[in-house]
C-alpha cells in the first residue's frame, strides 16, 4: 500500500484554493446579478409576467344642443380567448359557435392559435354573455366593452361621423373630437405563466377605464330633422344626384342643421340606406365599393367645391355697397349682353332674350341680372373684389371642426383678367364650399361679422359638469352694420318681388338669392348638369337663420334655383322659425290673406290653459275663457267650436276650464248613511261626484263605501230605504 506523495498533497491544496477562487468569483457574479442588477431584471420579469387585457373606456356621448342623444355608447361585452387555458377545443368551439352564431371552424382555429390572447367576438348581447358564462368554458374570458349606437340612424351622419371597430372616430365629430370622446382605457392586469395562463394564487389588478367627455353640439335635433326631410324630399322630387341643406345661426356661427342626401347610417356605414343604393352597390366590385364608401362618407358641404352661381351676387352686392360703388337706387341698363368686357364668348345676362332694360340696383338683384353685377364688379376692380372675396372667407378654410375641409378656388389677383372679374361677380369662375357660402351669408346677415362656424358647443363630463365651452368666435368684421341692413332689405325684396318668390313665407320676412350654375366637370362646363341653389336669411329684420339649399344635378328638366331650391328653402325657413317660435309679423295684406284662410280647429281638451293658448296662438286662433285664475292650473274640459271643425283663420275659440286640482285629485267618498236625498245631493254636488239613487227614504247603503278614494266626477250609487216603525 502506497501513500500519497508530497506533490499530490500540494496539488490538492492548490485545487482547494482554485475552487475557492472560482466560488468567490461566482458569488460576486451572483451578487452582481441579484443585488446590483436585481431591480432592473425584476422589472423586466414583471413585465414579462404581466398580461394586459385592455378594457375599452366608455366613449362620450354626443348630444344636440338641447341634450338629446345623437350618439351614445351602450354597454356590451367582448369575448376573448386565452388558447393556453382551453382544455377541450372541439367541445368549446361547438358551444361557442352555437351561442354566438359563428362558424365552428373559425372558432376552433381561434381557440387553437399560438397566441397569448385572441379576440373571438365583440359586441355580444347580454343574453349571449350570460349563456357563455353559464357554459363556464376554460380559457374563455368575457370582458366589458361598449358599442357606439346612433339612435336616429342616418341622421346628421355627416356631422356625427362614425367610429371604427376599435371605437376610434373616423369621420365627423367622432373624428375631430376623438381625443375628448375616447377616454382612457382601463386594464385588467394579471400575472401569467409563459403560456399566458394566470398564475395560481395571484391577484388580478383592475385599472378602471376612464370614460370620455360628452360633446354637446350646436345642432338642434328638431331643426336637423327639418333639414333632413327637406333634403330628402328635394332629392326625390328633382331626381337629383345630391342635395344639401345647411342652417346656420348668423349671430353665432352655430350650425343648427346640416344635411346631405344621399347619406349613410353611422350604425352601419357600409350598408346601403336606400333601395336604390342597395341595387347600385350590389353591382359594384369590392374595390369600387370601397371607393363608393369613401365618397359617400365625405362631408359634401365641407369638402366639396362648387361654382355658386348667382347666390354669390350677395357677396358682390355687399362689397359694392360697402365700397360705395353702388347704392340701392343706382340705375343700370341691361340689353342682354355685357359689352364693357372683351371676351371670346359673349357674357350674357341669363335673360338675354328679353333684356331687363333700365333698372335700379335693387331691381337688378330681384331680377338676378348678370349685367348689373358685372358692372358692380368692374367698378370694384379686381383687387377690391379679391379682397372682399377673401375677407368673406372664400379660398380659405372656415375652421369648422369637421374633417377634410376644402379651401375652395379663388383666382389670385395677378391672374384675374377682366373676363374673370366679370364672371366672378355673378358667381362663375370661382369655387366655394357650401359651408363657406353659408358662413359668408351669415356675415352679411348678422351686421357684418364673419363668424367661425361652430358645431360643438361644449364638452361635459359623465356627470354633466361643464368641462369646456367653445365660445362663438368673431373672425373679423367684413362689412358695416348699414351695409348689412341694406343687404337684408335687398334680399327680402328679391323674395318679396323678384326671382326668389318661391321662398316667400308669410309673416317671416324672408330674404334670399337664387342660384343656378352649370356644373364644371373636368374643367369644362358640362351641358345639362346644373347646381340649383337658394340662399335664404330670415327674418331679415333680425336674422335668426341662414339657410343654404343645394340641389346637385336635378334631372327632371327643371333646374332653376328659383324654381326648385327656393320652395325648399321657404319650407325650411317656415318650419324652423315655427319651431323656434319666432314672432310672425304680417303686413296688412298678409293679415287679410291669412284671415281668409280656412283652418281646422285643433283639439285642446285635456291640456292646461297654457298649452292650449300656445297651441291656438301658434295656429293663429284667438280664444276666450270664463276663468281668470292661474293658467297652468286650469284644464280645458271643453271647447267651442269643437275640434276638427273648419273655421276662418283667426277665429275665436271658447274654452271651458276646470281647476286642475279638482280634476286630478282623488276624492274620499263621504259617509252618507242616514241622510236625506236632499242632503245627499248637496254633499255630492259640492264634492263634484255624480250620483244614482235607488229607492226612497233615508240612505241605507252606498257604493263605493265611505272612505274609498275615487276620481273627480265618479258615480256614487246610493240605496234609500224607509224606516218602518
Amino acid at each position: 500500500m502506497s501513500s500519497p506523495t508530497f506533490t499530490t498533497k500540494k496539488r490538492l491544496v492548490f485545487m482547494l484554493l482554485a475552487v475557492s477562487v472560482v466560488v468567490f468569483g461566482l458569488m460576486m457574479r451572483l451578487g452582481y446579478i441579484q443585488i446590483v442588477r436585481g431591480q432592473g431584471l425584476k422589472d423586466e420579469a414583471l413585465e414579462q409576467w404581466a398580461k394586459d387585457i385592455p378594457i375599452g373606456p366608455k366613449r362620450g356621448a354626443i348630444y344636440d344642443r338641447n341634450g338629446k342623444e345623437l350618439a351614445v355608447s351602450i354597454s356590451s361585452y367582448q369575448v376573448d380567448c386565452i388558447p393556453a387555458d382551453v382544455n377541450e377545443p372541439e367541445r368549446s368551439a361547438e358551444i361557442i359557435s352555437t351561442i354566438l352564431d359563428l362558424d365552428k371552424e373559425d372558432v376552433l382555429s381561434d381557440l387553437t392559435k399560438r397566441q397569448s390572447i385572441v379576440k373571438i367576438k365583440r359586441w355580444i348581447s347580454d343574453e349571449e354573455a350570460d349563456e357563455l358564462r353559464e357554459a363556464d368554458l376554460d380559457g374563455i374570458v368575457i370582458v366589458p366593452d361598449n358599442k357606439r349606437y346612433y339612435p336616429y340612424g342616418n341622421f346628421a351622419s355627416y356631422i356625427l361621423g362614425f367610429t371604427d371597430y376599435d371605437n376610434k372616430g373616423l369621420y365627423g365629430v367622432e373624428r375631430t373630437y376623438d381625443k375628448y370622446l375616447t377616454g382612457t382605457p382601463g386594464r385588467l392586469i394579471k400575472n401569467t405563466d409563459s403560456l399566458g395562463r394566470q398564475l395560481p394564487g395571484d391577484v388580478e389588478r383592475l385599472v378602471e377605464p376612464e370614460s370620455g367627455l360628452n360633446a354637446v353640439l350646436t345642432i338642434d335635433e328638431t331643426i336637423q330633422h327639418i333639414a333632413e326631410k327637406a333634403a330628402l324630399e328635394a332629392q326625390v322630387k328633382n331626381k337629383a344626384k345630391r342635395t344639401a341643406v345647411i342652417i346656420m345661426e348668423p349671430k353665432t356661427g352655430n350650425v343648427l342643421a346640416m344635411s346631405t342626401k344621399p347619406d349613410f347610417d353611422p350604425n352601419n356605414p357600409r350598408e346601403p340606406v336606400t333601395e336604390e343604393q342597395k341595387q347600385e352597390w350590389a353591382q359594384l366590385s369590392q374595390e369600387q365599393l370601397i371607393k363608393e364608401w369613401n365618397s359617400i362618407w365625405r362631408p359634401y358641404t365641407i369638402s366639396d367645391n362648387y361654382e355658386p352661381g348667382s347666390t354669390f351676387k350677395i357677396i358682390t352686392a355687399a362689397a359694392g355697397l360697402e365700397e360705395g360703388v353702388v347704392t340701392k337706387d343706382s340705375t343700370f341698363h341691361c340689353d342682354g349682353y355685357v359689352r364693357q368686357v372683351k371676351s371670346p364668348k359673349p357674357i350674357k345676362c341669363w335673360r338675354y332674350y328679353n333684356p331687363h332694360g333700365t333698372q335700379t340696383f335693387v331691381e337688378g338683384a330681384e331680377n338676378s341680372c348678370n349685367e348689373v353685377f358685372v358692372e358692380v364688379g368692374l367698378r370694384l376692380g379686381k383687387d377690391k373684389m379679391y379682397e372682399y372675396v377673401r375677407e368673406f372667407g372664400f379660398g380659405d378654410k372656415t375652421g369648422i371642426d369637421l374633417t377634410s375641409e376644402a379651401y375652395g378656388l379663388v383666382i389670385r389677383p395677378e391672374y384675374i383678367k377682366e373676363v374673370n372679374l366679370a364672371t366672378m361677380s355673378f358667381g362663375q369662375g370661382i369655387a366655394v364650399t357650401p359651408i363657406q357660402l353659408v358662413t359668408a351669408m351669415s356675415a352679411v346677415a348678422n351686421g357684418g361679422e364673419l363668424m367661425e362656424p361652430r358645431i360643438v358647443k361644449e364638452l361635459r363630463d359623465q356627470n354633466g359638469e361643464l368641462v369646456h365651452e367653445f365660445k362663438p368666435e368673431v373672425k373679423k368684421r367684413v362689412i358695416s352694420k348699414e351695409t348689412s341692413d341694406t343687404m337684408m332689405e335687398i334680399l327680402r325684396s328679391v323674395v318679396d318681388n323678384g326671382t326668389g318668390g318661391n321662398a316667400y313665407t308669410a309673416g317671416y320676412r324672408v330674404g334670399g338669392k337664387t342660384g343656378t350654375a352649370q356644373k364644371v366637370v373636368d374643367g369644362r362646363y358640362a351641358s345639362g348638369k346644373y347646381i340649383a341653389s337658394f340662399a335664404a336669411i330670415a327674418p331679415t329684420d333680425d336674422p335668426e337663420i341662414a339657410v343654404l339649399v343645394i340641389i346637385d344635378e336635378p334631372s327632371t328638366g327643371v333646374y332653376y334655383g328659383g324654381l326648385i331650391a327656393a320652395p325648399v328653402a321657404g319650407e325650411v325657413v317656415k318650419e324652423t322659425l315655427d319651431y323656434l317660435d319666432v314672432e310672425l309679423k304680417y303686413t296688412a295684406e298678409e293679415l287679410e290673406e291669412e284671415l281668409k284662410k280656412k283652418v281646422i280647429v285643433p283639439d285642446v281638451t285635456g291640456k292646461d290653459l297654457n298649452e292650449a293658448a300656445e297651441m291656438l296662438a301658434g295656429q293663429g286662433f284667438k280664444y276666450t275663457t270664463q276663468e281668470s285664475g292661474a293658467k297652468g292650473s286650469l284644464i280645458i274640459v271643453d271647447q267651442f267650436p269643437k275640434a276638427n271643425t273648419e273655421v276662418n283663420k283667426g277665429s275665436k275659440i271658447e274654452l271651458y276650464t276646470q281647476d286642475k286640482v279638482e280634476v286630478e285629485d282623488t276624492i274620499i267618498v263621504p259617509n252618507l248613511k242616514g241622510q236625506s236625498p236632499e242632503k245627499v245631493i248637496e254633499t255630492l254636488n259640492e264634492m263634484n261626484l255624480r250620483f244614482k239613487f235607488n229607492g226612497n227614504g233615508l240612505v241605507m247603503d252606498q257604493v263605493p263605501k265611505p272612505g274609498t278614494e275615487v276620481k273627480f266626477n265618479s258615480l256614487i250609487e246610493v240605496e234609500f230605504q224607509k224606516r218602518d216603525w
Binding site: 502506497s2 506523495t5 451572483l30 436585481g38 403560456l195
Partner: protein, 367 residues
C-alpha cells in the same frame, strides 16, 4: 485500523442539509410541471424523496463499507457500469428527445451515466494507486489512464450527453493532475482538450449559438437566449431575500424543467442571494472537507478516490452555478444533491458515503 473512528460529521451534515434543501426545492420548482404534465403536483417530490431515502441508506452503507475493498472490486464495478450503459441498446432503453439515457427497470428508471461517473472514478483511482510512479510516464501511465477516461466518457458521449461526459472528463483529468502527472503532459493534454472543444463548437451550429446566447443573451431573448434570460430574471427578481419559498413565478414554464438544470435559479428567486450563498457555502464545506479527507487519507487509493469524488462534485456544481449565472455558455448540468434525478442523488450520496468511510481511516483528527 480502528473501526470505531467516527466519520467526518461536518461533511455528513452539509450533505444531508443539501439533500434536504434539494428535496424541498425540487418539490417547489417542479410543482407547475408536475401539475400540468403529470396531473400530480407531488410527482417529482415523491420520486426524489424515495431516492433520497435510498440514497441515505447507500450513504450509510458505504460509510461502513471499507473503501479499500472498492479497490479490489474496481474492475468489476467499472465493467458493471459499462454493462449498464450497454443495456441502453436493449429494449429496456428509453429514448427521450432523441437521446437514450435511461433504462427502464419496471419499478424505476436508472440513468447509467450517473453510475458511470462514480464507476470510472473508482477504476481510474484504483489504476493510478497501483502504479504510483507510472503516472509520470506517458506509455505506462498517462496513455492507459487516458484509455480509461476515454471509455468512461465515451459511453456517456454515445448517449449524446456531451456536457456530462465533459464534466466527468474534467473530474478524471483533475485526478491525473492530483496523482502527480507531469505539468508538461498536462499542458499538452489541456491544449488538445481546448482544441477538441473548439472543434466541437465549429462542428455544430447550436454550440456556436450558445456562445452567442452567452455573450448577448437579451438580444436573442425569444430564441437561443431564452433560458439564460429567464434564469437571470429569476435570480434578479429574487433579490437579496428572495420572493419566498414556493413563490417563484419563473418556474411556471418560463424556465423549462426548472427542477433540473436551472434549479439554482429557482433557489435564487425563492430564497434570494442569502439562500444562494447558503447553498454555495454548503458545497464549499463539502469540497473543503473532501479535500481535507484526501489530504489525510492513509493510502494513495483513498486519497485519489476522495480527490476524484470531490472533483466530480466541484466541477459539476461550479458549472451548474456558472451556467445559471450566465458566467459561461449555457449547457445542461444538474446541481449535485439538489437537482431532480434519482440515480444522480443516490450515486452522489453513495459517493459521500465513501468519502465518510475514508475519513474514518485518516491519520489525523477529524473535527
Amino acid at each position: 485500523m480502528a473501526k470505531g473512528k467516527a466519520s467526518d460529521f461536518t461533511l455528513m451534515i452539509a450533505t444531508i442539509l443539501l439533500v434536504f434543501i434539494g428535496i424541498i426545492m425540487v418539490f417547489s420548482s417542479s410543482w407547475p410541471n408536475a401539475l400540468y404534465k403529470m396531473n400530480d403536483g407531488y410527482y417529482f417530490l415523491k420520486k426524489q424523496l424515495i431516492a433520497g431515502v435510498i440514497g441515505l441508506f447507500a450513504m450509510l452503507f458505504f460509510m461502513n463499507f471499507p473503501y479499500w475493498r472498492l479497490n479490489k472490486l474496481s474492475k468489476l464495478i467499472f465493467l458493471g457500469c459499462i454493462g449498464l450503459s450497454l443495456l441502453l441498446y436493449t429494449p429496456l432503453g428509453i429514448e427521450i428527445n432523441g437521446a437514450k439515457r435511461w433504462i427502464n427497470f419496471g419499478i424505476t428508471t436508472v440513468q447509467p451515466s450517473d453510475a458511470m461517473k462514480l464507476g470510472s472514478i473508482i477504476y481510474l483511482t484504483s489504476f493510478l494507486s497501483r502504479r504510483k510512479e507510472d503516472i509520470k510516464s506517458i506509455k505506462k501511465g498517462v496513455l492507459p489512464a487516458l484509455v480509461i477516461i476515454g471509455i468512461g466518457t465515451g459511453t456517456i458521449l454515445m448517449q449524446k450527453d456531451l456536457s456530462t461526459s465533459a464534466v466527468l472528463g474534467m473530474a478524471l483529468v483533475i485526478i491525473l493532475f492530483i496523482a502527480g502527472m507531469k505539468m508538461l503532459h498536462l499542458t499538452v493534454l489541456g491544449v488538445l482538450g481546448l482544441g477538441a472543444v473548439a472543434g466541437a463548437i465549429a462542428l455544430e451550429d447550436f454550440r456556436l449559438n450558445r456562445i452567442m446566447a452567452f455573450l448577448n443573451p437579451f438580444e436573442y431573448k425569444s430564441g437561443i437566449g431564452w433560458q439564460v434570460v429567464q434564469s437571470l430574471y429569476a435570480l434578479g427578481s429574487g433579490g437579496v431575500f428572495g420572493a419566498g419559498l414556493g413563490k417563484s413565478r419563473q418556474k411556471f414554464f418560463y424556465i423549462p424543467e426548472p427542477y433540473n438544470d436551472f434549479i439554482f435559479a429557482i433557489i435564487g428567486e425563492e430564497l434570494g442571494f442569502i439562500g444562494c450563498i447558503t447553498v454555495i457555502v454548503l458545497f464549499l464545506l463539502i469540497i473543503w472537507r473532501g479535500i481535507r479527507i484526501a489530504l489525510n487519507a492513509k493510502d494513495l487509493f483513498g486519497c485519489l478516490l476522495a480527490s476524484g469524488i470531490v472533483s466530480l462534485i466541484a466541477v459539476q456544481t461550479l458549472i451548474h452555478i456558472a451556467v445559471v449565472t450566465s458566467s459561461m455558455p449555457p449547457t445542461g448540468i444538474p446541481l449535485p444533491f439538489i437537482s431532480y434525478g434519482g440515480t444522480s442523488l443516490m450515486v452522489y450520496m453513495a459517493a459521500v458515503g465513501i468519502l465518510l468511510n475514508i475519513s474514518r481511516h485518516t491519520e489525523l483528527d477529524r473535527s
